[in-house]
Every structure is written in C-alpha cells, then in structure tokens.
C-alpha cells in the first residue's frame, strides 16, 4: 500500500508548486497512470465480456469496483464465479442515495480457493429504484438475488431486505432477521428514517 500511494504525490509536487495549491484536484489524474496491473487485468476481463453493460468504478490496489445495472447483475456475478474463480461474498451492504432516488447494494466478493486472488476484493455494486413511501416486499425496490450463485449471501440479503426494503427476487427465505417481529416503521437504515433527537 505504501509504495503505491507515495509515488503519485512525488510526481505531482513539481507541477503543483507554481499555481496556488490544488493538490486534491490533481491527484485523481495522476493515479490512473499507474494502475495496478493485476487488478487491471481482472477488470479488463469483465469489460471484455460485458462491454458497456458495466462500468468500472475504480481500480485500486487489491480492490476492483464494478458498477452494473440490475438487469445484468446476475450474469456478471455468474461470470465472476465461473470464469474468475471468486467463490464467496464477504459482505452485502446497502447504501441509500435519496438524491439519486436509488438504493445501492454492494457485494464484496472474495476468493479462498484461488491463491492469487487472496488479497483481492471485487466490489460489485448495483442499484435498485427507491420508493418515497416504501412497502417492503410490495414495491418496485427489487433486485435479483445472487443466492443461487453465491450461497453465502443468504443471511446478508435478508438483512438488506429488512434494513433497506430491497426485495430480492428468488431468495427462498425473505423473512425478518434482526429487527423485532413487530417492526412497522420505515426500514431503519434508509436516510429518511431519523433517530431520536437528530
């Protein structure tokens, strides 16, 4: 990590010196020049297969992020498992973006069986439409489940369903997991659910 992050500032410093300091704007330009090669090869394989159906979010050391629409997420996940040897999902997180009117679901996918991928985390992000007045399970906030591809997402997706109201179509067990049985409020991790006194 240290070698990668130290280099770009060293390159940019002479350029930045003369104008009033704006190093924050310069850094993202300098970074893509030396993308980590192995991580780049992973993202290239996915881009080669799916073309413009996906977008590469970032390629950092050990982390590759792929943004994909909800209609292609199942195919991309299947390709990731079969062709790239990723075999388990570490975490499924929802992120609520009220300004985009979307809820993002982020899968962090890793690999145990392939030793070269041991450091790697592939971040697969997809977005579901967000409803202003959610009725969890009965509205348009739906995504295809990845449970038939990665068995390990079972409880994670149940958690996302109750915390964000994202219904996973095809998930065999969409019951409540952590919240009390009588929870009738908004899904609590949405941004419009305010906690006491805030």
């Amino acid at each position: 990590m240290s070698t990668e992050t130290e280099n770009p500032p060293a390159d940019t410093k002479p350029k930045v010196k003369s104008p009033p300091p704006k190093p924050v704007a310069k850094k993202p330009e300098a970074a893509p020049v030396e993308l980590p090669a192995f991580e780049k090869s992973i993202s290239d394989k996915i881009v080669e297969k799916f073309g413009d159906k996906i977008k590469v979010g970032f390629v950092k050391e050990d982390r590759v992020r792929i943004n994909v629409g909800k209609e292609n997420v199942h195919d991309v996940a299947e390709f990731i498992r079969d062709a790239l040897n990723y075999d388990h999902v570490e975490s499924v997180s929802g992120v609520d973006y009220p300004q985009d009117n979307e809820i993002e679901v982020v899968y962090h996918i890793g690999s145990y069986s392939e030793s070269s991928l041991a450091r790697q985390i592939l971040v697969l992000a997809t977005r579901a439409p967000r409803e202003t007045n959610p009725i969890p399970g009965n509205d348009a906030t739906r995504l295809p489940t990845l449970r038939d591809i990665f068995y390990s997402v079972e409880f994670h997706e149940r958690e996302v369903f109750e915390m964000f109201g994202v219904f996973f179509e095809g998930h065999p067990d969409n019951r409540r997991l952590l919240l009390p049985e009588d929870w009738a409020d908004l899904p609590p991790l949405r941004k419009d659910f305010a906690i006491k006194g805030r």
Binding site: L179, P180, E181, D185, P188, F193, I195, K196, G197, R198
Partner: protein, 174 residues
Amino acid sequence: MIKDLVTPENANVFVGKLGDILEKAIGKPLGYAINWGRIWSLWPVHIETACCSVEFGAASSPRYDVERFGIIEAFGSLRQCDLVVVQGTITRKMAPRLRLVYDQMPEPKYVIAMGACAITGGLYFDSYNVLPGIDGIIPVDVYVPGCPPRPETLIQGCMLLQEKIKRMKSRKFV
C-alpha cells in the same frame, strides 16, 4: 381460668390471636433467619442480554470469585432463581422476553441493572431499537453503573442488594 375464656364459639378467634402472638414473639428472629438464608443463596437467572455479560463472566472467574459473597453462578432453571442481573442493553426484541422471564420467576425476586445501557440506554440513548433503561419493564433494586462495570463494581452492587434484603421485611411465613 383459661377454660372459662375459651369456648367452642370463640376458639378460632383465639387460634388466630395465637398466630399473631407467635408472629410478634418469633417473627423478628425468624424473618431474620429467612432473610439470612436469602442473602447467601442468590441465584441469578442465566439471561445474557448484551456485552456486559463478559464482565459478569469475569466476576465469577477465580480472581474476583463472586461466589464467596453468596451469589451463585448462573446455571439453573429460572424457576429456582431469585435474581435477574440485566447484563446490558435491552433491545425492543429482548424486552418482552425479559418481562416473561421475570414473570415466570417465583417470589421473592430481585433485579440488578448492570451497565449504563440497562440504566438509561447509555451509549445507545438515541438508537432506534434500544430501550432507555429497563425500569419501564421491571422494577430494579440496585443500579450498577459503568460501561461495562468492572467486576468489583458488580460485586459491590451485589453486596448492596444483600444489605437491602437484610433490611427488607420478609414476606409472610407459615
């Protein structure tokens, strides 16, 4: 003399009076004995509610050894227990279960609220799923503050409870 006083009509009155006299005469020492028995055999229910259970476990470890103060380790059916140590946060999902456990226990029963979360909600005062203190659900005898309380604090809380029991009126004995 006593033959004149006691007739078959008022015999039951005298028996009742005799009970009162007996209670007056030996009630105090007997109540003391009963309370003494209760003090040295407090059995907590094994209900862990949050992270304070780590320090509860440490309190019965060899270094602190809460057993020497008569608080016996928590391994029993709740029908035999007379103490609830609420070990931390009570969430909305846990609250009905805690009340159920409390209701199923036989009298007399005592409650220690351990940790800031059990007293006021503590660090989770603004959480959506945490009760602001347990005294809304069950009556609390002793509050043990801390996040989490050190084992010594818990032991002191237990001793305060024993002190309280000592001064309590023991219930009716027959």
